[in-house]
Chain length 563, copies 2
């Protein structure tokens, strides 16, 4: 049996190491725009990958990418959950909420201890749970459709870069030449290893590890019969990305089978631990560690009573990596290869960070190919955005792990995240709307100072975020109780001028956020027309265009809280 | 990173080597029935596999299996194309016909040279093009659901079988024990190699090779603008499994994207050659051989003008294998491992043969586990059915390759195949109908002498088949021209008493078979009520139950021939 021919003599414009989500998306854009693209991958499709939960930012960026670069497969099929489900992969699930259910060791769950961020049903439906084997191959095949060359089962083991170009040497002795090389190999970090860029240890505060698999016969948490009951919030927990949180870690439950029309029976399951407090046990297999975990959390145990893994558990050591540098003359690292793209699965920020960087990279690469200028300075923006994302995600995530200590701190701190995500989304939506009208590149998120997907560059929000994180630092240092910390965060939230009052951020009893009800929409509109700060008003212009109360997905009439 | 734990001490009832279509299906049935099943696989899902086109027999057998063993996933989701598309994999295509388009080297296709067997739209829709990565994992995960243990990335390198049981040793040094072992490793032939069962050379007349891949942007043959036009037959060629045939080989085109609702953009493409006349060229890559092939057949070239492979071409040497023996005390080989399950992709008989053997094996294994009797004689039926299938498929396929020599011989001989398939289906449908009513095992296809899926054990058909094949032998030997051979086959067909006259088998101008039109149905009913032989009458009882002219898939009103 023989594989593809080698065309070693060929000179490519851009070589991409890795044909996963990042490599496939970049390859599709560049190839569509006529760039001679080589993708080199050490494996082959189809294959398992993590990074399964989208956030508003992911599809918003995909809409911007579709509009900006024109690839029909991205514009028409890939920029909404509904398009994805219909035209890319019926194996994907639906995400109608971010759910956080708090558990205490040895006790059944207390149904008043849970928080939920409801995802309002915009025009295109909700968010998605990506069955990555189908997504990554779809993107790669789209790149192939537009002329990209893909070399599968090809390991790059040598990279030489000089003023004249890039030479990639492979384990099989082939050599490929390109004008520029992108490392999209994720945690493999082919280029960051070759160029000796990896920090050891990584320069992140967060230190977590994970065990994960796909399972069958996971029960719907909502349907369990538990001694204290199940929290009844606006959306069913099973209809979203569910985070079971506990002191020291959290468990993700990402169903692919939670949508009418899904052909998938599986659920992605992953257990993340604070790696300092709970390092990987040397004397346990992952199955044993999983069983031991379930034995400590009886309500979670109920959900997994019949569940079986359909593939081997994978147990990792520390998840975080970081690189000293992310761009250079003729090379760059994508978000995942750099380490900023995947800090921790918490809040599902990985795909969004990756997509943000790719949007910025694709436009710069197209210009570089045209101008034949691949110097570092032309790509310097990427380094800034990756560094900014790494910093803010590290702060956000490590503070969150600290807040897992008690429900009251979590209940307070999660609102800081929710506000940052919501305002960030508003800004991105506003940018997309303006761009769609004008095709003016200056309105795009990568046009200026890295705005990040989070709202942290907004002076007010940045200050709120950091001051609340410092409250948590004080708690970690032992100088404040969990209750004092929560109280202080709530107090600051009540003073916040740029958050819509309908969010009720400062009210500890308002444990879910549902901006999709008619009262909430009217309250927010009133606020926007009266006391909202001008920059929020400006971003909110036209938001109503995305709201369609007649959508078949609509939950506008959802009753308010039950707890 | 570590994988699953080893439970080497465990004693399984049945160990299955290979977790593909055969292993997954058998594992699902046995596990559902409470048998302790181990599945060992040297790779992991998801993954590419061949065997993509179903025939009526496949789903009929699946219906029998569903009814007989009760596995809900098989009964409710897997026993019809519509169930499959909706509940298993939207990535699968549809098969509304077997199409055979005849090509001559260096010439554009002559639209009068094509044959088509239309698949009438029964209650559940048409047949399917299976995107095997989704099918094989679905079956394996179903086995897991019911308690099967799966060891992925585990290579069996030692098999010991004695009176007390089976021990499997793995490359990683694990040992597994079972009471019985099934080799479902297909062409890997783990057990047939370990037990030194492989014939060298294989005892088959057929000697073919293949190169294959999945492609994107394959054009629909029906829409091409060709100098001589495109054959207009009742069904679009692209809506079925298309065989481009030529002197010396044939090309399969199996679209996954030919159905409203399909999420797949790919088409399976494979080029099969007579390996004696066209051995694998030593000086060409598969791509070069593909390009060289296209350059010889201009009409096919048009269909593939924009097509790109999305994965490496695989080029094989001789495809056929055979085993001296297929069952023994405590072991057996499935159809694919034995060699009978995959002779050649022609006529898509592989999945059906595999399923036929699995149906017989599962019932015998359930009994053996209960009785603790795993002796060879209890499984002897399998050997007979595998030998019979191998013999008939070899004769059918090698005769077909000979008939590729001219359109007239193909046009005559393909009817022998079509008749055998049609009558075999009728008998299987009849068996299913009776079994569904009575649950009487004696009506099932594996109850008696191997009936095979083909109709060859029917005295009249067996005689017709063999005498026509001998006509082709005479042509090969040079003692008859292609036209004389065709004429003689047509003559015999005109004399055939057990073929419905509506098939017009003896009329060289009736190049397609479409039993789905209202005139054909009435003509056949009339024949059944008057001059049909009693055994055909008996089998046809109740066939109308499967016909639903109001089906949304219906093509009952299709106009007759256009050529």
């Amino acid at each position: 049996m023989t594989g593809m021919s080698s065309d070693s003599k060929q000179q490519y414009d851009v070589a991409i190491i890795g044909a996963g989500y990042e490599g496939g998306l970049l390859g599709a854009i560049l190839a569509y725009k006529g760039v001679k693209v080589l993708m080199v991958d050490n494996s082959i499709h189809p294959r398992f990958a993590l990074g399964e939960s989208t956030v508003r930012h992911t599809f918003r960026l995909m809409k911007i990418i579709g509009e900006r670069f024109g690839v029909p497969e991205i514009k028409d099929k890939f920029s909404s959950a509904s398009g994805l489900h219909t035209s890319v992969a019926a194996s994907c699930g639906e995400k109608r909420n971010f759910g956080f259910i708090y558990h205490r060791e040895g006790q059944h769950q207390n149904p008043t201890e849970a928080t939920q961020l409801v995802i309002p049903p915009f025009r295109e439906g909700y968010e998605a749970h990506l069955f990555r084997q189908d997504i990554d191959s779809f993107l790669t095949y789209t790149a192939v459709r537009y002329g990209a060359t893909v070399k599968y089962r090809t390991s790059v083991n040598n990279v030489e870069i000089d003023g004249s170009g890039v030479r990639l040497g492979t384990a099989a002795g082939e050599e490929f030449r390109a004008r520029y090389v992108v490392d999209a190999s994720g945690s493999f970090g082919v280029l960051s290893r070759a160029l000796n860029l990896r920090d050891n240890p990584p320069r992140l505060k967060l230190n977590t590890r994970c065990l994960f698999t796909h399972m069958i016969d996971v029960k719907e948490y909502d349907d369990l019969v538990l001694p204290n009951g199940v929290p009844r919030y606006p959306e069913r927990w099973y209809n979203g990305t569910c985070h079971h949180i506990f002191d020291g870690g959290w468990l993700w439950v990402i169903p692919f089978n939670n949508r009418k029309g899904s052909t998938n029976q599986l659920v992605s399951v992953g257990l993340s631990y604070d790696n300092i407090r709970f390092p990987r046990p040397k004397d346990m297999t992952p199955e044993q560690e999983w069983a031991s975990f379930l034995s400590k959390y009886p309500s979670i145990n109920e959900q997994f009573k019949d569940a079986k893994p359909v593939r081997d558990w994978i147990s990792s050591d520390r998840l975080q990596t970081s690189s000293k540098q992310s761009v250079g003359d003729r090379w760059c690292l994508t978000a995942a290869a750099h380490g900023s793209g995947f800090i921790d699965a918490l809040f599902s920020r990985g795909l969004a960070s990756s997509t943000e960087v790719l949007n910025a990279l694709a436009s710069r690469l197209l210009k570089a190919v045209k101008d034949d200028d691949f110097s570092r300075e032309k790509f310097e923006y990427l380094e800034r955005v990756e560094e900014a994302n790494m910093r803010i995600n590290d702060r956000l995530t490590s503070t969150s792990y600290a807040c897992f200590r008690s429900f009251e701190t979590w209940n307070a701190w999660y609102r800081i995240w929710a506000l940052g995500v919501g305002l960030g989304d508003l800004r991105l939506t506003s940018a997309y709307r303006k761009y769609k009208k004008s095709h003016d590149e200056s309105v795009l998120p990568d046009a200026e100072e890295p705005m990040g997907l989070f709202f942290s560059q907004h002076a007010g929000y940045g200050e709120l975020f950091e001051s609340c994180a410092q409250q948590v630092d004080a708690m970690i240092a032992g100088s404040a109780s969990t209750q004092q910390t929560a109280d202080e965060i709530f107090r600051r939230m009540r003073e916040c001028k740029f958050a819509p009052p309908s969010l009720k951020l400062g009210d500890p009893n308002a444990k879910f956020i549902n901006q999709g009800t008619i009262p909430a929409i009217f309250q927010t509109l009133k606020w926007l027309m009266t006391s909202a700060p001008p920059e929020i008003k400006e971003m909110s212009m036209g938001i109503m265009a995305d709201i369609n109360p007649m959508s078949p997905h609509s939950r506008w009439r959802t009753k308010p809280a039950l707890t």
